[in-house]
């Protein structure tokens, strides 16, 4: 039971990341290798705000703003230029890998590769009794916040003008344009949302270790890819379910096989899903869904 909660809590962080990546893939057909860096920059953004004495909710918003700004900047410069050139799929992969390396080494040099303390003041602390188990409040807060963010995203996508616009652009940018929707605006919105979700994940990672470093997000990039491949690339419900499932599988691998094995779970998931069912749990074959 405790272990399932552990799995769901880390899985909800995976889901937040997976949502961001799947949204970008769904709308732009770009796989962003920069996503782990966006997470880390967001976490550092909130760290700076916390160190300046801002209350936690404000600090989280600052982190989200930093991550969203960075995402939009990446999109409106390098990726926009690549789009204008009609660059091929691999060019986006290579360019975002290059960007990720640049972003990482900037942070690494700025922080001199140190692990910075991340204050837990203002975040929930200690355990709470739940169903006869001692569950850390922080974990519950992570789980709850993630679920709220995901529900919010689902409502926003399905019941607002911008959400419909995003679905329209994802399905056919040309048709959307003819209906008066500005695809570049939608792209920016997608990157903003994706950056905000990544920053939220980054804050959770930083709080649960009370520290943040330039490499905090490293492990999570391929995990996020595993999430969206499992859920189906471009599928929002897929990212949520995929993230939670992956988190639980990793924990169960630790419990029932070996903690050594949990490291490789994400990669095995990628391989197995690609071999058995490339469209994932929720993906439509060759189609794009948001």
């Amino acid at each position: 039971m405790q272990q399932t909660i552990n799995g769901l809590a880390s899985g909800s962080i995976y889901a937040l990341l997976g949502l961001g990546v799947t949204l970008i893939w769904g709308v732009l057909h770009v796989l962003t290798f920069t996503h782990a860096q966006v997470l880390t920059w967001g976490a550092f953004g909130s760290l700076i705000a916390i160190n300046r004495g801002y209350p936690v909710p404000v600090a989280i918003l600052v982190g989200m703003a930093v991550a969203a700004g960075l995402s939009v900047l990446i999109d409106s410069t390098v990726l926009e230029m690549l789009r204008r050139r009609g660059a091929s799929e691999y060019a986006f992969v290579v360019a975002t890998i290059g960007l990720a390396f640049m972003l990482e080494s900037i942070l690494r040099n700025r922080t001199r590769a140190r692990v910075e303390p991340y204050s837990r003041d203002g975040f929930p602390r200690g355990p709470i009794e739940l169903l006869g188990q001692n569950v850390p409040k922080l974990q519950l807060a992570v789980l709850a916040t993630s679920l709220i963010a995901m529900a919010g995203l689902a409502i926003w996508l399905n019941h607002t003008r911008a959400g419909r616009g995003m679905k329209a652009v994802a399905y056919s940018p040309e048709t959307a344009t003819l209906l008066g929707i500005n695809p570049r605006f939608i792209y920016a919105v997608a990157y903003t949302v994706s950056g905000m979700l990544a920053a939220l994940a980054g804050v959770f990672v930083a709080v649960s270790t009370a520290s943040v470093s330039y490499s905090s997000g490293d492990r999570l990039l391929l995990t996020a890819f595993a999430v969206i491949i499992l859920g189906g690339m471009g599928s929002v419900p897929g990212a949520v379910v995929g993230g939670l499932i992956l988190g639980v599988i990793e924990v169960y691998a630790t419990v029932h096989v070996s903690s050594k094995f949990s490291e490789v779970v994400a990669y095995l998931v990628i391989l197995v899903v690609l071999l058995v069912r490339p469209s994932g749990l929720f993906g439509a074959k060759e189609a794009t869904r948001v």
């Binding site: 390098v78 660059a87 290579v94 360019a95 290059g98 900037i106 391929l222 391989l271």
Partner: protein, 289 residues
């Protein structure tokens, strides 16, 4: 044969030659339209196969390297069979996951000595061998480039369906290329193990792939000569520039990748880019008059 070169320069030359083999192994896949990220994984397989056979089973070094080539090819083909029906990004992710599984596997099983790696590997690989191997590889690359095989690869890269329509067995070509690429990367890994004497799982990380991608795209993907020259050029730069080895090195490699993708997605020696350059230069006199 090359003993007149001081050991220090000879070592750098050897390392460069090994890098060339790795870059070519990546290039040959790319030329067939396969964007694979598994190179580091195959290099690890090669390095460990030969190192283990030579140190634990007392095989002679050349036999160890041959075994590495064989294992690399076999693994590539058996992985390729199910995976090659994937396209584009799916293949890239699948191959990246494969490389990770290989390297993590090596780090976590007993007979590879885990994260400690293997040290004291016999270093019989000489510059003469490496020059010969690279010469043969490049010669074969040139022959392929000029042959029907090379044209078919290009057709597949440019448009798979048209290629299939021309009667090219796309799957067979890709399979063959994947096998050759895996074999070459494994060979490079084995040669490296027998040159540096120490291997450990951490050296086959994502950073290696980024460096190889940089060499390949800066050199251009249309002909082997570009990546070869780029590999040599970067090695010389690395030995002479302050930034090499620092935290900024990643920044430079990253920014080079971004800039090359923006200016010339097929590499700086690609026809598309050189023609554009030529147009720019030809236009200049017009502007002057």
């Amino acid at each position: 044969m090359f003993e007149w070169i001081p050991a220090y320069q000879r070592f750098l030359l050897d390392v460069t030659l090994i890098d060339i083999i790795l870059v070519i192994s990546l290039l040959i896949l790319f030329q067939c339209g396969l964007f694979s990220m598994a190179t580091a994984g195959f290099a690890a397989i090669g390095g460990y196969t030969s190192a283990l056979l030579v140190t634990d089973a007392d095989w002679p070094v050349p036999l160890g390297i041959l075994a590495a080539v064989f294992v690399g090819a076999t693994l590539a083909v058996s992985f390729g069979l199910p995976v090659l029906r994937l396209r584009g990004i799916y293949l890239a992710l699948g191959s990246l996951a494969l490389a990770q599984v290989i390297v993590i596997g090596i780090a976590n099983v007993g007979f590879t000595n885990g994260v400690f790696g293997i040290s004291g590997i016999p270093t019989e690989v000489t510059t003469g061998w490496l020059v010969a191997i690279v010469a043969v590889i490049l010669l074969v690359m040139e022959l392929i480039h000029r042959s029907h095989f090379g044209r078919a690869m290009k057709a597949i890269r440019l448009d798979e369906h048209t290629a299939a329509g021309l009667g090219i067995n796309v799957f067979a070509y890709r399979m063959a290329t994947f096998g050759i690429g895996g074999a070459m990367a494994a060979m490079a890994g084995a040669l490296e193990a027998h040159r540096t004497a120490v291997i450990s799982p951490d050296q086959y990380d994502f950073g290696l792939l980024v460096v190889l991608l940089t060499y390949m795209f800066v050199g251009g993907v249309e002909h082997w000569l570009g990546p070869v020259l780029a590999t040599i050029g970067f090695r010389i730069l690395n030995e002479n520039l302050e930034f090499a080895g620092t935290d900024w090195e990643n920044f430079y490699y990253g920014s080079i990748l971004v800039v090359v993708m923006l200016l010339a997605p097929d590499g700086l020696t690609s026809r598309r880019f050189t023609q554009r350059l030529a147009r720019i230069f030809r236009r200049r006199p017009d502007l002057a008059t």
